[in-house]
Amino acid sequence: MGEDREILREIWDGRIPISFSLSSDDCCTLSPPDPHYLMVPRMSYFPIVLDKVKKYFTRSINSDLKIDEIWLDFEGIPLKWNYPIGVLFDLHTGGKTIPWPLTVHFSNFPEESIIRCRSRFIVLLSCHSIYREAIESHFLAAVKEADAFKHRGQVVKNMQMQDHKQLWTGLCNDKFDQFWTINRKLMDCNGEEGFKYIPFRLFLKDEVPIQRLQKPFGEDGSRLTLEDLLKNVLPRTLNENYRVTIQGIEPPWDTPLQWLSEHLSHPDNFLYLCVLQSEL
């Protein structure tokens, strides 16, 4: 993996410019506040980066609205905060709309489509940091699930609590070395053998993400490629008009899966593939 460290670093440094505008439903000032602009890491999650946005809009919303009821939409579709920001961007815009215009809401939480972070009984259980706790818990659950695919969960099982913490804080604080010191272990693949299965989530617009068992090598030991995965997952519908984006990049379809998994996975160790129909 050593020689491709630069690629890991490039991927880690991916940023998306976002413009946050306050929903007119929640605005209490005569003229709406200006949009708030942020450069946000692709690898990160909205609950980690929204503190500044909350603070910025605090003065412009009704005092009876709760700042932790925050949620975002793009073109009317609520964003699922438990997926990495870069994945949401690729899926919803095809990587094309820059800066990404998002609407910020503090009311009418769409609890039937996205997970709620805040509780109605917040005082009693001292959940002041529940938003952060929720995303940390989602992240670590995904890391464990990814390791179940890759190593039958053996690597995560042998890690210490502090290793899990280091992965998380490395991501939150944008510390590449801190994160990769631990993540290296999760990417261990016994030399030629590769992972048992490639942990991936394939997104088609407006559909639930697809997961399947996908080996990195064929029966004859040949390297399986992105195209093999697409044929496995979308056998009936796959055609040349599909654009497959991973980390905002369209990798050639003959790229080996094992390499993709080691280098283009998100910090939760899942490879996120966004499959979009190209515009003709």
Binding site: K80, N82, E111, E112, S113, I114, I115, R116, R118, S119, R120, F121, I122, L124, L125, C127, I130, E133, A134, E136, S137, H138, A141, K144, E145, A146, A148, F149, G153, P199, E207, V208, P209, Q211, R212, L213
Partner: protein, 211 residues
């Protein structure tokens, strides 16, 4: 660990028994690969869910000890206002997880007004039964998107399921050998934790080897 095919086989076995017992589990099969799961909906009183098992399910001495336990518990200040919220509507799903190769129980709870419960509400309900939940909240019950319909549901993370099932196998090898018993046996543990039990009749019939 069970394969997806074994999961489906065991679910079908379970559904067939349930038909005889007039339990209300039903199968959901979508026109996409690997999307077989089971669903059950029911209404219950909140205090039944959180503090004692259903009457018709546990008819043995265990229910006595739970009743005793309940009478010893002080009135819980966290308890939800009974007048408004005593009737809950619950939906359970048994779904296969491909990474861990085990089933997961997903569920949602709504109050009498159709309001979806929050994660903290759910922690509180089940903390009445299992106080240790509050010390390990995120590892006991959490919320995630249902793999087949995409909506938010509560679930217990499956990273220990395999260990628990292995432990059970050790103690009751004959019953656990046949993979078709996997779902009923698993539900006995993971369902019971969330207000759901495998009818005792099922166990009786199974012991008589009528299936």
């Amino acid at each position: 660990m069970i394969s997806y095919a074994e999961f489906v086989k065991s679910c079908q076995f379970f559904i067939n028994i349930n038909k005889n017992l007039e339990d209300d589990w039903r199968e959901v099969k979508e026109d996409v690969d690997l999307t077989y799961y089971l669903v059950k909906q029911r209404c219950t009183h909140g205090h039944l869910l959180s503090s004692k098992p259903e009457k018709n399910i546990l008819e043995n001495d265990d229910s006595l000890s739970l009743k005793e336990l309940e009478s010893e518990l002080p009135e819980d200040p966290l308890c939800i206002n009974k007048e408004n919220l005593d009737i809950f509507s619950i939906e359970y799903h048994i779904v296969y997880n491909m990474g861990f190769c085990v089933p997961i129980l997903y569920f949602n709870i709504w109050d009498a007004n159709g309001k979806l419960f929050s994660l903290t509400d759910v922690w509180k309900i089940f903390a009445n039964l299992y106080p240790e939940i509050l010390h390990n909240k995120w590892n006991s019950i959490t919320q995630g998107h249902h793999p087949h319909n995409g909506k938010p549901y509560f679930y217990c993370h499956p990273c220990n399921t395999e260990k628990v099932m292995k432990f059970m196998k050790k103690h009751d090898s004959e019953e656990y050998e046949d993979v078709k018993y996997y779902i009923p046996n698993w539900l006995n543990i993971y369902g019971a934790a969330f207000g759901l039990s495998v009818p005792s009749k099922y166990c009786c019939e199974k012991n008589q080897k009528t299936f």
